[in-house]
């Protein structure tokens, strides 16, 4: 009986696995499948943010750059402008993209850079132990909101995919999740559409992917998926917020 792995081998760059139930390898696997199906693996360059979202790149056997926290859109801007035939995409967390990296993110959206931004949203700063993040839900307990996120002092969670959709240079903006097989396949479609926008050189494509973080949510993995379904998705609805074939 032959074994043939459908997606890129996991013998690259793995120092340790993520936490039990973390879905970042799943997201990475979906990206690997999409790159292979679109036949752009050999041209791809990933620009990584800092954080647990780094795990997303583990299943990818492609060139990658890791720089400063929050700055992948700047780094990707340079690479894509200098080498436009490469498929350039960022992989960032919610804090990397919308806290420290908000300026970098907005700069890329304004300029309508023709690369892809992937923001993995687990509603906290995971690597550092579970602090408040821009997408933390109202009332959610984190290590820096021990009484739950207060709208008075911490504001409301930010809706990044909706925000990205308002920029004229953005060709595609969607939010997916991987909390069940149906979501998995929808997210794969969104990621494929996003990369296709880059292949077709239309404009910036953005995909936000909700992901479980059992360790910092203090829930079991299966409970985490339920929390995504019951609480996170109502706050962060799934779907495509912008999908255009030309930028005017």
């Amino acid at each position: 009986m032959k074994t043939e792995k459908v997606w890129a081998a996991l013998n690259v760059l793995v120092f340790s696995p993520p936490c039990p139930g973390c879905q970042y390898w799943t997201i990475g696997r979906i990206i690997a499948e999409v790159l292979e199906e679109l036949d752009i693996e050999d041209k791809a360059i990933a620009v990584m943010g800092i954080g647990c979202n780094g795990y997303v790149s583990n299943p990818l056997n492609i060139d990658r750059v890791l720089g400063a926290h929050g700055r992948p859109p700047d780094t990707a801007t340079a690479i894509k402008r200098l080498s436009p035939d490469n498929i350039v995409f960022t992989v960032q967390g919610d804090g990397d993209c919308m806290a420290i990296g908000a300026g970098s993110f907005i700069g890329a959206l304004i300029r309508g850079e023709k690369f892809t931004i992937i923001m993995c949203n687990n509603a906290n700063f995971g690597t550092t132990g579970g602090q408040l993040a821009p997408t933390t839900l109202t009332g959610q307990i984190t290590t820096t909101t021990p009484d739950g996120r207060s709208v008075i002092t911490e504001g409301y969670p930010v809706h990044t995919a909706e925000l990205a959709a308002t920029f004229r240079g953005v060709a595609y903006s969607a939010r997916g999740a991987v909390n069940n097989p149906a979501s998995y396949q929808r997210t794969k479609k969104y990621l494929k559409a996003a990369f296709q926008k880059q292949v077709d050189q239309i404009g910036l494509s953005f995909v936000e992917v909700l992901s479980a973080c059992p360790t910092n949510w203090h829930l079991s993995p299966v409970e985490s998926l339920k929390w995504i379904e019951d609480t996170v998705i109502p706050e962060f609805p799934l779907g495509e917020f912008k999908n255009v074939n030309r930028i005017d």
């Binding site: 492609i62 890791l66 700055r71 340079a78 200098l82």
Partner: protein, 368 residues
């Protein structure tokens, strides 16, 4: 046929970068270097090269990071407050060992400071920033030298896989002088096999990983067994970089008093030396062209043979610390700085007559 044009120092940065084969410029407006991004915005796109005005200096330096990671010759420019913002990117560039140049046109500081010239960034450039890295700094003192040193900087950056700083100031950036545009060849350089270009472009078809996280297990991806062994490689590299020392010696052979200056004050000092020599005063000038590496041995030698030093810097006393370190207590080191400007304002300058006054005072003291 030699092509000569009359341009500002800031524009000479552009002509030098073009001669060096620079592929991209990323920058942000800040006085007194706006002529630099403006030059690139005019001259680069029409030559098929990249110009991006970023949203901040934090962005500019990280764009440089990306362009350098992809194996291109890239640069940015800024002034002192923007330089403060670039510290994060500089540390990452040094860690990832990425070649690039940063042109810093100094202005008064700290904070927002003044929008006019000063020399207040000596320490925060020569000492490296967060994380204890080192970088070569070249300091021109004319429009021509700005153009030439930009090219040398690109070469040294590629040679050592390290950022190189070109340290200018608000006067050098804005004065207009004759420039001979020429392409300078400093020698062959190895291919950038480490750069990220997409797997299809790598001969071995293995992926490349450029990153600045060498203190963790990630160091394995750089081919080092652990953090300290990588640091040892960096220490070796910094030692090799010290061989790039450059300085100019003016009327120093028989001098008893040595002026030490860089940038616009170096030209002022040359004038002062000329004036002093007509009065029979034995004074000379050392002008470091690389501020790092610094000519410690040269100064130590003169200290041991009885010389006296006067450091002239448009600051409250920064390079003077290096001169004091060089003499190791064996010679007098005096300082003439911002408090001696001809006007106590942001537009005040250190003028030759003031330096001459100091030369006379120090020479008279000798006769006691």
């Amino acid at each position: 046929m030699v092509e000569r044009i009359l341009v500002q120092g800031n524009e000479a940065v552009g002509w030098g970068a073009l001669s060096a084969g620079c592929d991209a410029f990323f920058g942000y407006p800040i006085t007194p270097q706006n002529e630099i991004p403006e030059w690139f915005s005019r001259e680069f796109p029409k030559r098929g090269k990249i110009f991006v005005q970023s949203q901040s200096e934090i962005a500019s330096i990280m764009m440089v990071y990306g362009g350098a990671a992809a194996g291109f010759r890239v640069m940015t420019s800024t002034s002192s407050p923007g330089w403060a913002l670039m510290q994060e990117g500089m540390s990452h560039l040094a860690a990832a060992e990425l070649p690039c140049i940063i042109v810093l046109v100094q202005r008064g500081g700290p904070g927002q400071g003044s929008i006019r010239h000063a020399q207040m960034d000596y320490l925060c450039t020569t000492r490296g920033g967060a994380g204890g890295y080192k970088n070569i700094i070249v300091a021109p003192a004319s429009v021509q030298e700005t153009h030439d040193l930009v090219q040398l900087a690109f070469y040294l950056a590629d040679k050592y896989r390290n950022p190189v700083i070109v340290l200018s100031d608000g006067i050098l950036g804005l004065i207009r002088e004759s420039l001979e545009i020429k392409t300078m060849d400093f020698g062959p350089l190895p291919e950038k096999d480490w750069a990220v270009r997409g797997r299809e472009r790598h001969k071995d078809k293995n992926f490349r990983f450029v990153h600045s996280g060498v203190g963790t297990a990630a160091v394995l991806t750089r081919g080092y067994p652990n953090y300290v062994s990588w640091l040892e490689h960096m220490a070796d590299k910094y030692e090799q970089m010290e061989s790039e020392l450059k300085y100019e010696s003016y009327q120093a052979e028989d001098a008893e008093l040595f002026l030490v200056a860089y940038g616009y004050p170096a030209r002022v000092c040359k004038e002062a030396v000329n004036m002093a020599r007509t009065e029979g005063l034995k004074v000379g000038l050392f002008r470091p062209i690389t501020l790092w590496p610094f000519p410690y041995q040269l100064i130590k030698g003169k200290a041991e043979s009885g010389g006296k030093f006067l450091v002239v810097e448009d600051s409250l006393g920064l390079m003077v610390e290096d001169v004091r370190m060089a003499v190791q207590g064996q010679a007098e080191v005096h300082f003439l700085g911002m408090q001696s400007r001809h006007l106590p304002t942001d537009g005040g300058m250190i003028l030759p007559s003031r330096v001459l006054e100091e030369i006379r005072r120090l020479s008279t003291d000798e006769e006691r």
